[in-house]
Amino acid sequence: MNGAIGGDLLLNCTDMSVLERQRAHLKYFNPSFDSPLAGFFADSSMINGGEMDGYLATAGLNLPMIYGETTVEGDPRMSISPETTLGTGNFKKRKFDTETKDRNEKKKKMNREEVTEEEEEKSKITELNNGSPKSIKKMKNKAKKEENNCSNDSSKVTKELEKTDYIHVRARRGQATDSHSIAERVRREKISERMKFLQDLVPGCDKITGKAGMLDEIINYVQSLQRQIEFLSMKLAVVNPRPDFDMDDIFDKEVIVSTPMTVVPSPEMVHSGYSHEMVNSGYSNEMVNSGYHHVNPMQQAETSSDPLSCFNNGQAPSMWDSYVQNLYGSLGV
């Protein structure tokens, strides 16, 4: 468990974001944590729920104290009281000033024995966390200078945390400690995280670095998808089933044609810089079909009894297939 402390939670990455730290914290204390909604509230979470074994707990020090003294003002999402788990917490705003005032008051009520004990523990912690996140580094630096004050702070913070159980975010080294900017930084990290997610989604975005270019790419992609839908709807309007339509014929052909279609053209369409529509801007059937002719001869005898397998992708026919078949029949009516 102690090893887990060093390796898992106190990740040795100096560029670990505030957000990630909080999330890792949450994960540590709630390993069975899999609600997507809670991920949003993972920006802050209750701390005291997890009792850490080892020497940290014996001193009554919880890990959160490492996170220091500054609270985030103005962002109510960042604080959740511990009684309510995972996201249904009471959102309280705390002013930075009142907190410091409280801290100063508590300073006077310090228990001397606690101080010495925590000093010991603090030094142990700082040794253990060599090269750990910046917050801890900062703590270590502080510890070197003023051992007493540091332990005072830690005990104060624990007391405070027991009382309020907020996540205290410590500003990174060399960055503004303004609570506004901390909240701002969290927001920026969220945005970049989502952008990374979008980057995986949009094809051809790995080469592009920088938010602006990627966002442009994403916008282009959305526009091209919308244009594709418009184009296809035009085609559907043109290719109108006539009354003498032979539905069985359609089904067979559809199975043969569409099963390879679903696999091949989509990456083609997308990777060629959305040029598919450009080529077919004349909206003529011949041009489109000629693009796919090379695919057709390859798949000859791939009929299936299920006419809707093009949509099912070869899966077992589901219950509503008959219903859809009726719909299909009505299409020709």
Binding site: G39, A42, R194, I229, L236, A237, K253, W320, V333
Partner: protein, 160 residues
Amino acid sequence: MASADKLINTDVPEKDVFALHFLRSLSNLRTQNPLNSPDKSIDRVRKIKKAAYVSMARAAGGNSRLWSRALLRRAAKDDNKSVRFSRRKRKVTWKISSKRRRSNQRAPVVEEAAERLRNLVPGGGGMETSKLMEETAHYIKCLSMQVKVMQCLVDGLSQK
């Protein structure tokens, strides 16, 4: 792929769900306008396009997504007969982005791109940038699914 990411939930139903909704809407169109009616092709195209979007929004989860909700609402406003849209019973509150936009601290590069995105994605006007990007991701997935379905259909119908 995306379902593994616990923090951002962008699961999209399978292709058949989209297919079902789209076919149903197409058949509805068919029953409304018999084949022989002298419809102008532009109107027909527009109707089909609208049916495509509405069915996509329904397949993607109806009221559960902001963009699908906005899309359905927009469609219901124009044409009350064919699109059924029920108001939510509970109030949906999300961050009011107008207040935030005044702040200069938001990265201007990101924000200007986000503005363009807001115009594209339905319902984007009332969203924070981070929420907007989430919705965009889901929207992109649904769009590509819908495109696949329509492509399948077109190919099937044109190959007779």
